[in-house]
């Protein structure tokens, strides 16, 4: 399908990351347009675009912006560039290849909402993204696009590049704010800590993902209505999806949102090109490690938020991980659970203890040292973290990380229970191994 690329349109321009390259390809036109408008009209355009957040939760940006309580100042913008959900790879590309587009997006948001300072929180492990963004910021400051009296107007805002230091949970928006305040990145209890009303230093704060903000220059230049015309009814515009795992052409593809199907993006030649080695599909994760798995029967669903939610999973952070028939479901499940066990911040008991226990049990199964009732124990722990295994999950925890660890277990056990049972049947029962030993 021939769709105009919005956010990746400069990816094949070699010098797009420099100010010259950016300006030569139409850069900062959205900002100039915004500066000719009243701020509230800029906000209206974003509402009209019905731009869904690209960081995971998929909440409409324009609506979220509206949650800033009137008359409370200052307000801050925090850009979530912590990208660490397994399978997710798009924000780093946007920062490396087109950093000015992100900067322009930050400026447009700041102008629209009266945000008086912006913090660009970039994952620490991304040295090149840090360098590209820093260089772009330096150029944009020199050229008068950031800082005092932007483009000669009375609009002034600083954008501060902030280095992260490695912790997945910091991607959760309230943990991000804790980290930005110089603390351990542990999520805050919501309510009261909805960032739009109680965010950085307790002030109204907009937290948006890198990809979300990168859409703003196009939206303001072409209008929210033009954006909303692209894509599906609610899932508007285009969106980046990383297709990884057992496919012929793993890659990051920008496609029309809400229209393109999983079958197309996984199998079509212009996208991932099908399963590598001519093998069969076993299952795929539609939206990053936290998402319940999909199977053959889901292939014809469109990449549409509402549809995927209804089918019992989520598009999350745009990360499609494909597993072929040779994949060991127990090993894949263990791999995903280990991730959450390692990344749990430790603030709530069901997550801190539960994910660690789950990892140990799965590791025991995988090493053929399982006990006969291990699967029951596993389900019992899952039920303690996410009662009833509902979708969207019910939670006994402060943030969704704990319930995320439950997704792969319920998926793998639901579909491939026989593989677990085979491991257990082959196990030399060693019932004396303590579950929670180091």
């Amino acid at each position: 399908m021939a769709v105009d690329h919005i956010i990746t349109k400069r990816f094949n321009i070699v010098d797009a990351h420099t100010l010259d390259g950016y300006l030569a390809s139409g850069g900062y036109r959205g900002l100039r347009r915004a500066l000719e408008m009243v701020p509230s009209d800029v906000h209206e355009e974003v509402k009209t675009a019905s731009l869904l957040g690209r960081g995971g939760a998929g909440f409409p940006a324009g609506v979220k912006w509206g949650f800033c309580p009137p008359g409370v100042w200052p307000r801050y913008l925090v850009v979530n560039g912590d990208e660490s959900e397994p399978g997710t790879y798009k924000d780093r590309l946007l920062m490396e290849r087109d950093p000015h587009q992100l900067i322009e997006g930050c400026l447009i948001a700041s102008y629209a909402l009266g945000l008086s300072q912006c913090f660009l929180y970039v994952r620490g492990e991304m040295a090149e993204a840090q360098e590209r963004v820093a260089a772009a910021l330096n150029e944009a400051y020199e050229a008068g696009y950031i800082g005092k009296n932007i483009c000669g107007t009375d609009f002034s805002v600083d954008i501060v590049l902030h280095w992260g230091a490695g912790a997945y949970i910091v991607g959760e928006e309230t943990a991000l704010l804790e980290s930005l305040e110089g603390r351990r990145g542990m999520p805050r209890l919501k309510p009261p800590a909805f960032p739009a009303s109680f965010g950085l230093y307790g002030k109204p704060t907009i937290v948006n993902n890198v990809e979300t903000l990168s859409n703003l220059p196009w939206i303001i230049e072409h209008g929210g209505a033009a954006f909303a015309e692209l894509g599906g009814e609610q899932s508007t515009g285009t969106r980046m999806f990383a297709v990884s795992g057992h496919v012929k052409r793993p890659g990051v593809y920008e496609v029309e949102f809400g229209v393109t199907t999983f079958r197309e993006i996984i199998y079509a030649d212009e996208y991932a090109g099908g399963i590598a080695g001519g093998r069969e599909l076993k299952c795929f994760i539609p939206g990053g490690a936290s998402a319940p798995w999909f199977y053959e029967e889901h292939l014809d669903l469109p990449l549409d938020k509402a549809t995927v939610d209804q089918a019992g999973s989520m598009l999350g952070s745009g990360a499609i991980v494909v597993m072929d028939e040779t994949t060991d479901a127990v090993a894949a499940c263990h791999n995903l659970v280990r991730f959450f066990a390692r990344e749990s911040c430790g603030k709530c008991t069901p997550c801190r203890e539960g994910t660690a226990w789950m990892e140990q049990i799965l590791s025991r199964v995988l090493h053929r040292q399982a006990r006969p009732d291990d699967l029951d124990l596993l389900l019992d722990i899952c039920d303690n973290i996410s009662p009833g295994f509902a979708w969207p999950p019910k939670m006994t925890t402060i943030c969704p990380l704990g319930p995320s660890a439950v997704s792969p277990v319920i998926s793998a056990l639901g579909r491939f229970k026989d593989e677990f049972e085979t491991y257990i049947a082959q196990s030399q029962a060693r019932p004396r191994i303590p579950v929670a030993s180091g």
Partner: protein, 199 residues
């Protein structure tokens, strides 16, 4: 002593001034300390504590939460091999075993000559380029065993000048020219932004 050298102290003050509250500069300052020393020594933590106005226990509390900060000197080259789901599906396990054999250390270890540290890490946002690894946070995509050997040999021979030693995170830093700065926005000063007008 590993307190900040003059240039870094000046930089540290500049960074602190960008934030509405000094404590927000803690992580960037710890990166600066790690850049100067290759890790964050005790007296560096104390100095960061003084600079941002908290106790050194609080600095340790924050620092110990984040994986990138090292409290003991790692190898000159920190080799991080991703074992996240996409890399796992594409052979990260074999790559890691090969790396352990090539370097003669287990994941989590450092070679006796202090050149290499090896770690299995979680997803590093290169999933479509699996298996992925980083050396001092510089990427190698679609790594093979042969490619790994070449990389390690080149590093050992000093041929990879594009990869700075451990601690140096980014070779380009943000500069905010003072005449262009809008200034940090204090949470304690409630002012309607001028461009919104009176309404």
């Amino acid at each position: 002593m590993s307190r900040f050298i003059d240039e870094n102290l000046r930089l540290a003050r500049e960074i602190i001034a960008r934030y509405p509250k000094p404590r927000s500069a803690m992580i960037p300052l710890l990166h600066l300390a790690q850049e100067q020393n290759g890790y964050v020594p005790q007296d560096a933590m104390e100095e960061v504590a003084e600079l941002v106005g908290v106790s050194s226990a609080e600095v340790l509390g924050t620092l110990s939460f984040y994986e990138m900060f090292k409290q003991i000197q790692p190898g000159r080259y920190q080799v991080n091999i991703c074992h996240g789901i996409s890399c796992f599906l594409c052979g990260a396990g074999e790559l890691l075993s090969h790396a352990e054999e090539k370097l003669g250390i287990k994941s989590g270890g450092t070679t006796p000559d202090g050149m290499f540290s090896l770690e299995a890490v979680e997803c590093i946002a290169a999933c479509t380029e699996a298996p992925a690894l980083q050396v001092n946070y510089r990427y190698s995509h679609r790594s093979t065993s042969e490619g790994f050997d070449e990389l390690v040999d080149a590093l050992a021979a000093g041929d990879r000048t594009d990869i700075p030693e451990h601690g140096i995170l980014a070779t380009v830093r943000q500069r905010i020219p003072s005449e262009r700065a809008a200034g940090a926005s204090s949470p304690d000063v409630s002012e309607v932004p001028v461009w919104l007008g009176e309404g």
